[in-house]
């Protein structure tokens, strides 16, 4: 019967992190609390990988992250933060600190949005929201911070 257990575990994880409907029989209140707790934990983990992005959003970070992440399974904290930062940049709502951090990351790594970021061969450039970073001789420097 482990096939049954596997399917039931998969349905539960999908409901918790990928926006799938709750499997039958589970009490909705506790399941919703678990979903929210997972998002809160994930927000903390992504903030550790993207400290300036989180700091730039300040007290709004948990809510901004949770809105973006709800129903979207994690691709790992590094990529989750990267995807969110790009989305905020495209929407014009990336805070300056987050723009600085994104520019530095873009200068150091090439990230196609689908697989793990790879180190860029220098020289590399990164731009976000007015911030400009450059990678020379293997070191990334923020040339110009985003407008405050």
């Amino acid at each position: 019967m482990s096939g049954d257990l596997a399917a039931r575990q998969a349905a539960l994880v999908a409901a918790l992190v990928a926006g799938a409907p709750a499997p039958p029989g589970f009490a909705p209140g506790p399941l919703a609390a678990a979903r929210t707790a997972l998002l809160r934990k994930r927000a903390g983990e992504v903030a550790r990988h993207w400290p300036l992005l989180a700091a730039g959003l300040g007290p709004r970070w948990p809510e901004v992250f949770a809105r973006w992440a709800d129903g979207r399974p994690t691709a790992g904290s590094l990529r989750d933060g990267w995807d969110l930062a790009r989305e905020l940049r495209d929407a014009g709502t990336l805070p300056p600190l987050g723009a600085d951090e994104l520019a530095v990351r873009e200068a150091g790594h090439r990230y196609d949005g689908r697989s793990a970021p790879r180190p860029r061969r220098p020289p590399g450039w990164g731009r976000a929201g007015g911030a400009v970073a450059v990678q020379l001789a293997g070191r990334v420097r923020l040339l110009r911070p985003a407008r405050r």
Binding site: D4, L16, F26, A37
Partner: protein, 272 residues
């Protein structure tokens, strides 16, 4: 290396300096997945080893409760970290963390069914075959239960321990959280678990959000959890009690006070 003893603390890079300055400390845990299998150990941890401090690798991503066979590469990593740290044992959870190709990002509860007991025991046996030291299994804190449990928690855990021969890592804060969220008495579980099988116990802080008590590891240890430590020790004091803190690290004085409170609740010597 000797087994876990006395009051311990979860070693994390953020508090490595604090941990290094605890004169009486004899036991720490390290998150196994945070140590590279090929070494070297983080500096702070290597220094503790030289002082004779026991280091126990604590796995969080094996997914021993998954219906699929445990990933041999993850077991090999845990085994390598056990060798690197010269550990007397390792620990992991009675839980699953991924299924159907999706990662839950956290420990999820199993249905308390015969199927799930069989799945966990098969995975624990696979892990035991490749680990150089014994494994202790930790029951988790869960905010929800599966709808069709066949066993109660004590019967479920005891069955798994009996069939695997594994040691028990009892998390007192998890016992408190589960009982509180289910409206049950935590002492009922303490009275029915094989407390003599405990290799060491965990203690951590938590907080209430939205009507549920969350075992956050980022908040202070509540008085009620310390009281439950006292209840546990009155029944059968485990060889060691370890404080887990995983973020929002408080000032050193506050963390020292938590360790002292744990020593007071258990009767172990202070380590600060």
């Amino acid at each position: 290396m000797s087994g876990p003893a006395g009051v311990g603390l979860g070693w994390r890079p953020e508090i490595a300096g604090f941990v290094a300055g605890l004169p009486g400390l004899r036991f720490v845990e390290v998150i196994a997945e945070s140590v590279p299998a090929a070494g070297p150990l983080p500096d702070g941890l290597a220094a503790l080893r030289e002082r004779g401090v026991t280091v126990v690798p604590h796995g969080v991503r094996l997914s021993l409760g998954g219906a699929e066979p445990v990933d041999p590469a993850r077991v090999a990593h845990l085994a390598a970290v056990a060798d690197l740290t010269g550990a007397p044992l390792v620990s992991e959870h009675i839980a699953f963390v991924r299924a159907g190709g999706l990662d839950a990002g956290h420990l999820l509860p199993l249905p308390r069914s015969r199927d799930a007991v069989a799945a966990v025991c098969a995975n624990v046996a696979r892990a035991q075959a490749d680990l150089p030291v014994p494994i202790a299994l930790e029951p988790i804190a869960a905010l929800f239960d599966w709808p069709d449990d066949e066993l109660d928690e004590a019967a479920f855990l005891t069955e798994i321990l009996d069939r695997t021969g594994a040691l028990l890592l009892l998390d007192v804060a998890n016992v408190y959280a589960n009982a509180r969220n289910r409206g049950a008495d935590p002492l009922d579980l303490l009275d029915r678990l094989p407390l003599e099988r405990i290799a060491y116990a965990h203690v951590a802080g938590g907080a209430e959000h939205g009507g549920f008590y969350h075992d956050t590891h980022t908040d202070p240890v509540p008085r009620a959890v310390l009281d439950l430590v006292g209840e546990l020790c009155a029944r059968h004091r485990p060889p060691a009690l370890l404080l887990e803190r995983d973020g929002h690290y408080p000032p050193a004085d506050a963390l020292r006070a938590e360790l002292d409170a744990l020593a007071a609740a258990s009767g172990f010597p202070v380590v600060t």
